[in-house]
Assembly symmetry: C2
Homo-oligomer: 464 residues x 2
């Protein structure tokens, strides 16, 4: 039953960076070294044997004995939106707000970010490029008695810093109940000591790492996406009427958007008001569509995801080893923006997406966000347009993974697809054409742009 | 037991408008006529005898038989914030989003709003000045089979209109669970037929009505507050260094605020992250601190509020008569902004206020928001500064009532108090000095400014 999986992937990384211009750079050398050092053993163990975790005898909820970290509970959803009117599902409840913080500093006129090589048990490649600090409240109040998170003081102290980004943003609304994290970019003027797990890299180069599969973690992507784009000085800006030039204008907020920001907000308010979605926390034990064995919790039709247990032995974490449950999604998802030049200015086709775990039920999501395996009978809207687009219209295509501290090998194929001229400007009521700069403006506030769309914005910023 | 209360208050209104400049105006005549016509009989009936409502035998929750409108349930709150770490309370659960819509039109270069004379059973004076449209989803999908709400089409149709305001805003976080309504101001170009319950009035004059006790309802106040202020052309603008001149600059967004909007947002994110508050819906039947009799539900120490039943016979409502429960608060609350000129620009002292029913737990509230009777042992911060301020520092002082469709005679004394020079600029971490224009900018988005603070912003706009 146990699936012993040693995740040391330096060789795989070396393969994936070969030919990308990264091979042999100080960053690639540092990262390869970190992958070697931060060996991590992740083995699957039955849920019933997770040390420190227990199923509540009454509710069947799965929680840590300390009451901290997170708990897996049940959610009962009733919705007037979408093909399924009612369902029950397990959901992760994590009330506390964590910090995802990137330290930046200007060197030679360019902003550099201090990235971290960080291990998470659910990662495909174990080590990923992470923000400077990634800490739950349990981390930084030291519930699990590890070392104090490095650099955290630079984010936690309200004085003494310039916060370029400081906003609560949601995370996966299908798997988390009202989860939000504090996305921060903090600028420091002076030197800071750099530990061996940290490395300064120009922001533009951090962004370009997104072109490599599964190298940059979700937390880095969401934090980067909140920072307005500046065009990299080492690249030539496209000045024609093509889609790439339109995307640069879109990111920089140039030109006249199809809808004003006020019209976009009104469209969003209308979309939120049009449907009802009510959800109620229920015991994990009572979910008709789900079954629990000593090993795992699975959907009876083997869809959506299962909940598994892992035992982790890490070398560089705050604590030496731990057990925890993880959500293990079925199959690889597709997350895509359809983009279209309208009068020379690229617009993204945003979807007002209901998700049961989102705080206000609806956020702006990508044009397509689904796992095709979960929809055997119907095709989600625009999925075929995205998957069948000819190669020259695919502007970005890389596999990214979701939060490896909660999800086990959760992979999504992230795509930016040029709609082409035949794609209609008129779209269904739940969709709206917006510019990248409009989305970035909204990301100054929480709960407008969902985490998948934020990841795609970061991917878009990586194109130059 | 029955408290038969005929609410025909034309005489009271006539008294209150005497000497305000309103007496004898077409508006005052129209309104006095509406008060006469819209007679309404509200009598208290025991909860057990409410027609159409029932207590669920299992949970004790009080809900309408149709499943619509709203339900009274229980809420269990645990908080690391404030003096009380844990409590249980009844709470109103109303998932559906209603529309609070004001129609505006430019006449002779000035915006006019179409107000409505509207009866609600909880009102002190029965009829109040209301927005053009005030409709829950149950109203406009006609669950209670009344007439279709007039003018609603002008708000519900996404095309054909200019929405100056279109945003979901929260309502009382102590009494509502995640309640939000769609605040709308829609501008029309042409004539619209005016029914006898509606009246056009210049926006500035609608605002000035707030100086009269209990005349303008909560929905009008929140909608007005979302609309940026323009200085009325029929008033002379104060140009000295005094507090009134500072308030005009503050409303108009002139001068340099003490904190940038980014710093205010960072302060707010920090305040949200600092504490934890978790709440869970529980059965109404199991609330240790509360007791239910056939007549009402009350707090065992007779604090906070009780839940009572009323029977309504109205003449002009969508339906002729109905029964419903109402929350009946104990005593009169105090809602106040302390304001202070900082370098000639007035700032409001905003409080990051935790309330269990708010969607994201915290919104920016007034400096003081409390019912002093609920705090026999401790004085809420800044309450004494507000209540004991000398008369010349009290800039606004009127009693306003909260939503009469859910609350029975819920009165708050709304105050704007000049802090004076001795009041310190350094304030506790949960407080922040912001300008009125900064608050208005944030009100473009939902869930930043709570309903009490929004009402005070409307009061502030009424000063000229």
């Amino acid at each position: 039953m146990l699936d012993r999986h040693v995740q040391s992937e330096a060789a795989a990384l070396t393969r994936s960076v070969a030919g990308t211009g990264w091979a042999g750079t100080p960053f690639a050398d540092w990262f390869a070294d970190r992958v070697e050092v931060n060996r991590c053993l992740v083995e699957r163990v039955p849920l019933d044997e997770l040390r420190g975790w227990r199923f509540d005898p009454g509710t069947g909820n799965l929680a840590h004995e300390s009451g901290r970290f997170f708990a897996v509970e049940g959610l009962h959803v009733q919705s007037s939106y979408g093909p399924v009117a009612e369902w029950r599902q397990p959901i992760i409840n994590q009330d506390e707000i964590g910090i995802l913080g990137l330290l930046v500093r200007e060197v030679d006129g360019r902003l550099h970010g201090l990235v971290q090589a960080k291990v998470e048990p659910g990662n495909i490649t174990t080590v990923q490029v992470s923000p400077t600090v990634q800490a739950t409240r349990s981390n930084y109040t030291q519930v699990h008695q590890g070392a104090r998170t490095r650099y955290l003081d630079l984010f936690a102290r309200p004085q003494d810093r310039v916060a370029l980004v400081d906003v609560l943003q949601s995370e996966q609304g299908s798997w988390f109940l009202g989860k939000r994290n504090r996305n921060m970019v903090v600028q420091v003027a002076g030197e800071v000591p750099v530990g061996e797990n940290h490395h300064w890299l120009p922001l533009h180069e951090i962004r370009r790492l997104l072109r490599i599969d599964a190298l940059v973690n979700m937390d880095t992507r969401t934090v980067l996406s909140c920072l307005p784009f500046t065009f990299p000085p080492d690249r030539a800006r496209p000045e024609d009427d093509g889609i790439m030039a339109g995307l640069v204008r879109s990111l920089l907020g140039e030109g006249r958007a199809r809808s004003t920001l006020g019209e976009v907000l009104s469209w969003f308010t209308e979309a939120k008001s049009r449907h009802e979605l009510t959800s109620r926390r229920i015991p994990l034990a009572g979910l008709a569509e789900w079954q629990r064995t000593p090993e795992e919790i699975t959907h009876r039709e083997d869809r959506h995801f299962s909940i598994i247990g892992v035992r982790v032995e890490a070398t560089e974490r705050e604590v030496v080893g731990w057990d925890q449950p993880l959500f293990y999604p079925k199959g690889r998802g597709v997350v895509a923006f359809v983009v279209k030049n309208i009068d020379g200015l690229a617009h993204l086709l945003v979807h007002a997406r209901f998700q049961a775990g989102l705080l206000d039920r609806v956020e702006m999501g990508p044009t397509v966000q689904c796992n095709p395996d979960n929809h055997p009978k119907s095709r989600p809207r625009f999925l075929d347009e995205v998957l069948h687009a000819p190669g020259e219209r695919i502007l970005f295509d890389a596999v990214q993974t979701e939060e490896g501290g909660r999800f086990y090998r959760s992979e999504n194929r992230y795509l930016l697809v040029d709609a082409g001229e035949d794609f209609p400007e008129d779209v269904p009521d739940d969709f709206c054409w917006v510019t990248a700069a409009q989305l970035t403006a909204l990301q100054r506030h929480g709960y407008y742009v969902n985490v998948e769309a934020r990841s795609l914005i970061a991917c878009l910023q990586s194109l130059w």
